[in-house]
Symmetry: C2
Subunit: 133 residues, 2 copies
């Protein structure tokens, strides 16, 4: 279960608004970019949140999840904040998929055209263990 | 999009093997525990990997993803290693769901009965920004 988990939290996204609002369109783009990065898609689930019923009438965001043979991709959009969070997690047992994960993250950042990006990388299952109770 | 992303990488899991092998059973447990923690489930997707076709005949693992109004839960199992990875990510815009996330993670750790746990907590969208190219 050793693997690499990349996160990127994007703000000031300058992309066309359909990337933040349209679940099927965003989902298809996520699947296509995962495959283009060399990752194996085994499942997909996209959810569109409803427009706010209150006076704000804020558009709802989208969650797009792509299950991979190598682990998963999760994307959440917040159109009212022009913000997006990205998670790409690849298990590296048997082969090192780290470069594919980085390529997928970069492709998704390109899609959303953020003004700012906060990135983190977590090596999972690499030690730092504690005995459970 | 400020939020808390908890990860736990479990090894030496002493649970009954169906929790590592049976996608519908594990998936239902994940949904139930998310709801019990006070989180709002908006979607679910479970995938069972096939048994290895090679001489090892190793049982395939399971991926269980639960989409939440607050963000997501992802579980991956590696039965051949008695290992599991857990991700619970909650957005804390509007309300602080951190305690619910911690409760869900604890409930899932209890389910799998690991010998060892490697935990990380990432505060997302909390600054540490860099200007994108």
């Amino acid at each position: 279960m050793q693997g690499l988990h990349l996160t990127a939290d994007l703000t000031g996204c300058r992309c066309a608004t359909h990337w933040l609002l349209d679940a099927p369109v965003l989902g298809a783009a996520c699947v296509a970019r995962a495959r283009a990065a060399g990752l194996q898609v085994v499942g997909e689930l996209f959810h569109a949140f409803p427009t706010a019923a209150d006076a704000t009438g804020q558009a709802g965001g989208v969650t797009a999840t792509v299950l991979l043979a190598e682990s998963h991709l999760c994307v959440h959009t917040w159109p009212e904040r022009s913000a997006v969070t990205l998670d790409v997690y690849v298990c590296n047992v048997g082969a090192d998929h780290s470069d594919k994960a980085r390529a997928l993250l970069a492709a998704l950042e390109d899609l959303f055209q953020p003004t700012r990006v906060e990135r983190h990388a977590l090596q999972r299952g690499a030690g730092d263990t504690r005995v459970a109770a």
